[in-house]
Subunit: 385 residues, 2 copies
Amino acid sequence: MAETPAPFDPGEFHRRRAVLQAGMAGDGLDALLLSAPADIAWITGLATRFWQSPCRAWFVVVPAKGDPVAVIPEIGCAPMARTWLDDIRSYPSPGEDGIDGLLAALAACVSKTGRIGLPMGAGTAPAMPLASWLRLETALRPRCFVDAGSLVAGARAIKSEAEIARIRAAARAGRAAFAGLPALAGPGRRIADVARAFQAAVLEAGADHVGYLAAVAGPGGYGDVIDPGDSRILVPGDVLLVDLGAVVGGYYCDFGRNVAIGPPSAAVRDAHRALHDAVAAGIAAARPGITAADLHGVMAGVLQAAGQRPGGGRFGHGIGLSLTEPPSLMPGDRTVLEAGMVLALEPGVTLGPGRLLVAEENIVLRGDGAALLTDPAGPTMAVAE
Amino acid sequence: MAETPAPFDPGEFHRRRAVLQAGMAGDGLDALLLSAPADIAWITGLATRFWQSPCRAWFVVVPAKGDPVAVIPEIGCAPMARTWLDDIRSYPSPGEDGIDGLLAALAACVSKTGRIGLPMGAGTAPAMPLASWLRLETALRPRCFVDAGSLVAGARAIKSEAEIARIRAAARAGRAAFAGLPALAGPGRRIADVARAFQAAVLEAGADHVGYLAAVAGPGGYGDVIDPGDSRILVPGDVLLVDLGAVVGGYYCDFGRNVAIGPPSAAVRDAHRALHDAVAAGIAAARPGITAADLHGVMAGVLQAAGQRPGGGRFGHGIGLSLTEPPSLMPGDRTVLEAGMVLALEPGVTLGPGRLLVAEENIVLRGDGAALLTDPAGPTMAVAE
């Protein structure tokens, strides 16, 4: 039976608020407006999967001093009342859009010449109708909105021990399920059926839910890494990738495993070993002070030295309340890694047109280096006969 | 073994495009811009759960005549190439935001005084950074954006037989799993563990994945309907609600079941029977020509005649590629129901503070009335001993 992670202690959210407000002071912000589901879950602790219903907007206003104010649809009031927030204002939805209540909450803490932070840049999206945004922005003038995406992402990137425990629990469920994957994935099985049975195994191993899954296979490598699992039948020579986002207490792990259907070719074996070595080098190099780009470079260097052609996009990213979070392990991302960051290391190679292979493991950065949250795949690819 | 639904025939997407383009002609639109995951899945047929990664924007431009153009992150190219779209343009992401490619695609089909439709109103949200939106809107002037939310929602609301088959398959998996719910939910069980075991059963019964789940219980009724399942232990006198969004071929069912933990009180029994009767009346009344508001009124009337106090929000909604879609069964929604709409009927009552009960079934509207997609819960609440 799965162990439910302990609730966050009240100090957890006071610390999160303090991190935001320190950043807001540095940026000269009078308030911060959050609307994205993961941002709202992070600052409030609200647990729900109701974000899959796209018809209602949720808002949290963080003032420069004092406690956050929630402006949410009525259906959310009871669950939000169980969080640490005291000031919860609701609006009828569907029917209204919440902007009247949000205007009141913002006008109360932002002077007419004040600045309101809002995630607006890369990797963010406003979880409200554009018509609501336009009304909000117009009504609040001459107050102005400024991008606070980096502030929020930076605060969320450094995980507490309680957050790390949840990601570790999610990874543990994944690990147990992946141990049984070769037995599910023999020749003649349909990929969709493997995906279905694997997800059941993840739940039985203790995940609260399976928030993300990709299952894709092809001869000697796969053509993409995001297909959810189709009706194709596995045949000898295929390599199957199952990529899992299991969730415990709201937090994702994100790692995958390759399974050869029948004995893999020499090219596949070599690529798998090179990916293993690249991940190992990444784990060894990951520590506070190195940049995301440099960590990419370490892994890319190992692949190139092994005669492999890097492929499959960036070589990793943050994980947490979202399946993928900043930073990106890729050239150009100069984010300096810090203790408390939880990362997916995800190098990939291309063996030819439509023939990718990727490896993925999860780590947490400590003061002296990286600690694994997953049991790394070995240098030899698992085989399903 | 689950039956995978047959692929959509090519005509499916030509018909969808034709419906959009007819609406665009009526509204004087030169192009339609789609960014929301479900809108993109609907017009392209793309299958993926990668929307859980919030770091990349996907766009589809539907011109007034001719085929759609996709402007998407590179990671999506191979899966999008398996859809019916021919014109697929990609951009490196993370790193860029896709707006340059989108500007080119829009400028090619919209004259300088033209109008671009974009879902902007209630129930929509732009799946791109606000900074990207501002750059796009500014660069395209004097072209203007107008709200096309109703056009898109109206097109999506009328399901084809192939879409209905997927929702029916999702509901079938839910039905099989719900049959076993009382055996999972006895006194002494933790709600989170019931939720986990139930989701595994949904997968074993043939769902591709469990896109939404709520599991909440309380003495003589529950305080909310969106909690994902916490560590509370079920005790006699509780009523447990499990509300399921199972997914097959991208399409959701959305229905729930109540289970009494030990014999229910007379008040709970009466409320359950009244909800059953309200749903039955709703099924009998649902037919093309009635409005969403009137269908709400039919169900509310049954509850009031039974001496129950309506509660729990709207009394139902559309379902499809999203867990909830327009219309809303509530006063004020004057949408006229049409054949091909798939609806969740979801009346609720409140028995006192923090004591809700809701019932939910799924139907499809035919020319002569409603056909059930679920086996309705009976008038007597299931009991777990």
